[in-house]
């Protein structure tokens, strides 16, 4: 084994420029891959943190699962048994949660529920002077909402608390406020779908970082939204819940569904479209970046093929001196793995350095109009697994490249080479 290592080392050391180029190729691939993964995961983590901060972890929806279950049961009952049910449940077309106050009381007693708040999402048009913008008015109990989300913490102008004091107050998304041209203290007119209108005073401007909220949402007191929608005082479009454990939502969801009889969504399900988008972007990016590693692997294969071509005579001599095919295969595989390992180590070190630099001196940029996420800072996730997985992948690709290249070396027939060389 030591002889194999020595032969491999001497081959590499004899061509330092070529060796370093191959190492640099792998290092570049690894560094770019690690940095890209860190950036993509950073983006997802950034989005997720924002989302969890300003969204309920669980949302009780108007859909009743007991009705759904009855429908399912009806579909499943075979033959004559269908007659056992005289009439199917009448679907409730009004998309609201009824008896919200009683539901709230029951939900607050469920273990794992830390906060609960009724919300009424109502489509409306907000007008300020001659400017009118479609918007979603989210009616909430400001104090209860503060126990469910961190919306009060992302009010950038004015105060969330002012909603409690001003029954006709509104906290407007920052982009929406910009388009309307309103500031704290301005009065806007909200017109609901049924034509009901209310004058509201802007008491705050909110910047959640989530495009959908900042561009088209205004938070108002619950009775205001209920009034515009023509709903009763005990109705809401959803009940928003905060859980004590973000990682154990499935069990809590089942308990809440059992208590309320309504379908319950987790924050991931609510934001599934955005999360899927991030995943797709991530996978695409990983694939593209992965090609850099594959190209680096080809670089190693190329380097080894060059060595093998160049060393064909030496390989023939080694065979004639008694070296086995396995030993020669070992020499070139060791070379490939050594180049891959050196490249992986250098690449990981370079990536760690770049990530550390951009963490210390982050790149900042202005939010884009219409973006899903107000991503204003390059956020880099840090996870040792990036280095481990990508480093091992680089090694595997290098070993594979070596295996491909080495086939030629072990096929060398000494007499053919020596006859030609003589």
């Amino acid at each position: 084994m030591r002889e194999v290592l020595l032969l491999a080392w001497r081959h590499l050391a004899a061509r330092p420029r070529q060796s370093w180029l191959a190492v640099a190729g792998v290092a570049l691939g690894v560094a770019v891959f690690v940095f890209t993964v860190s950036m993509m995961d950073g983006l997802t983590v950034f989005f997720t943190q924002r989302l969890i901060r300003v969204s309920p972890l669980l949302t009780v929806l108007p859909e009743r699962i007991d009705v759904d279950r009855a429908r399912d049961a009806l579909r499943r009952v075979p033959g004559d048994a269908v007659l056992a049910l005289s009439r199917p449940p009448v679907p409730d077309d009004r998309p609201t949660v009824r008896g919200a106050t009683a539901q709230l009381a029951r939900l607050r007693a469920v273990p794992g529920v830390e906060g609960a708040s009724v919300a009424a999402d109502v489509p409306a048009v907000l007008s300020f002077g001659t400017i009118a913008e479609p918007a979603t008015l989210v009616g909430v109990d400001p104090r209860a909402e503060a126990g469910v989300t961190e919306l009060p913490g992302v009010v950038v102008r004015g105060r969330w608390d002012a909603l409690e004091a001003r029954r006709e107050g509104a906290v407007v998304g920052v982009q929406l406020a910009g388009r309307l041209g309103v500031e704290v203290g301005d009065r806007v007119v909200a017109v609901g779908e049924g034509g009901a209108a209310r004058e509201l005073e802007v008491v705050g401007v909110i910047a959640t970082g989530l495009g959908a909220t900042d561009e088209s949402t205004a938070f108002v007191n619950l009775p205001v939204a209920q009034g515009l929608a023509g709903w009763g005082p005990d109705e809401g479009s959803e009940i928003r819940l905060r859980a004590s454990r973000v990682d154990r939502l499935d069990g809590l969801r089942r308990r809440v569904e059992a208590v309320t009889g309504h379908r319950v969504e987790t924050w991931e399900e609510t934001s599934r479209a955005s999360l899927r988008l991030f995943r797709m972007i991530g996978v695409t990016t990983y694939l593209l970046t992965g090609f850099v590693l594959v190209v680096a692997g080809l670089g190693i294969a190329n380097k080894l093929t060059t060595i093998i071509l160049d060393k064909e005579k030496d390989i023939a001599i080694l065979r004639s001196l008694g070296f086995s095919r396995a030993a020669l295969r070992g020499v070139f595989i060791v070379e490939g793995v050594a180049l891959g390992a050196a490249g992986a180590l250098l690449g990981c070190a370079a990536a760690a350095g770049v990530i550390a630099y951009f963490t210390a001196f982050p790149i900042r940029f202005a939010p884009r109009e219409g973006a899903v996420l107000a991503y204003t800072e390059l956020y880099l996730a840090k996870d040792p697994r990036y280095y481990l997985v990508i480093g091992v992948a680089a090694l595997a690709i290098s070993a594979l490249a070596a295996l491909l290249a080495v086939r030629r070396a072990v096929r060398v027939v000494p007499v053919e080479v020596l006859r030609g060389a003589a």
Binding site: R10, L318, S320, A326, L418, A422
Partner: protein
């Protein structure tokens, strides 16, 4: 200086056959272009013989040498060295047999350029996973000394002259104490002074240590000073001349 352990019988041939070849046939090329380079060679070389294989270009000398050295497979016939039959042996097993039984010196030195003179000499031992023990390194140094390169162990091949390189190649061929030393025009690339030095080295190996040697050569001087001259023509042995007391 420790003499080689095998092939040592003192000066002069013994009774034991080190190399036996029977009915060797070798065709080169394929299809219609195939031609029979060796046409049924029978020969036997006894321990301690110094044999020159001569013949015009294209007579099949090198082809025969490669067959005898286990570097090539005959289309028909068999070769055995020190009682070991080489026919039908798998490539890796054949490599081990070569390593153990045969030392090869080529027309070109074929030293590995990244390795020192001593490392090149020890290379056949490395092939067996050996060559690191102090005694083995000492044996390599001794061989270098024997070929007149004492003190040049650490030199790379490019730092040596052509004659010195060839002498390192000779030392390498001897490091495994082979039963048979085969050489393919070992002085073909050397000037007359270096050629004479290499010849003297072979002579000394034969006379001083009883090394069995088969040399392919064009050099009439080698042939004249060998114990035995085999003449090859058109793939057949056409002469086998023993020269008692040749010097």
């Amino acid at each position: 200086m420790a003499p080689p352990e095998t092939g040592v019988r003192g000066p002069g041939p013994g009774d034991r056959a080190v190399l036996v070849a029977r009915g060797l046939v070798r065709k080169l090329g394929a299809g219609a272009a195939a031609r029979e380079v060796l046409r049924g060679i029978d020969l036997e070389i006894r321990a301690g013989e110094f044999v020159a294989l001569v013949g015009p270009s294209g007579s099949g000398k090198s082809t025969l040498l490669y067959l005898l050295g286990g570097l090539d497979h005959p289309d028909a016939g068999s070769v055995s060295i020190a009682g070991e039959d080489l026919s039908g042996v798998h490539d890796d097993a054949l490599a081990r047999l070569r390593n153990r039984l045969i030392g090869f010196v080529y027309q070109f030195h074929f030293l590995l350029p990244e390795f020192s003179a001593l490392e090149n000499v020890l290379m056949p031992l490395w092939a067996r996973g050996r060559g690191r023990a102090r005694a083995e390194r000492a044996w390599g140094e001794e061989l270098l000394g024997r070929v007149g390169l004492a003190g040049m162990e650490a030199k790379l091949p490019r730092e040596l002259s052509g004659g010195e390189q060839q002498r390192v190649a000779v030392a390498r061929a001897l490091v495994n104490r082979p039963s048979l030393l085969l050489a393919d025009e070992p002085t073909g690339n050397l000037d007359s002074v270096n050629a004479e030095a290499v010849y003297d080295l072979f002579r000394e190996l034969h006379r001083g240590h009883g090394q069995t040697i088969l040399v392919v050569t064009h050099d009439a001087g080698w042939a004249a000073r060998s114990d035995r001259v085999l003449r090859l023509l058109d793939g057949r042995v056409v002469g086998d001349e023993r020269r008692e007391g040749a010097r």
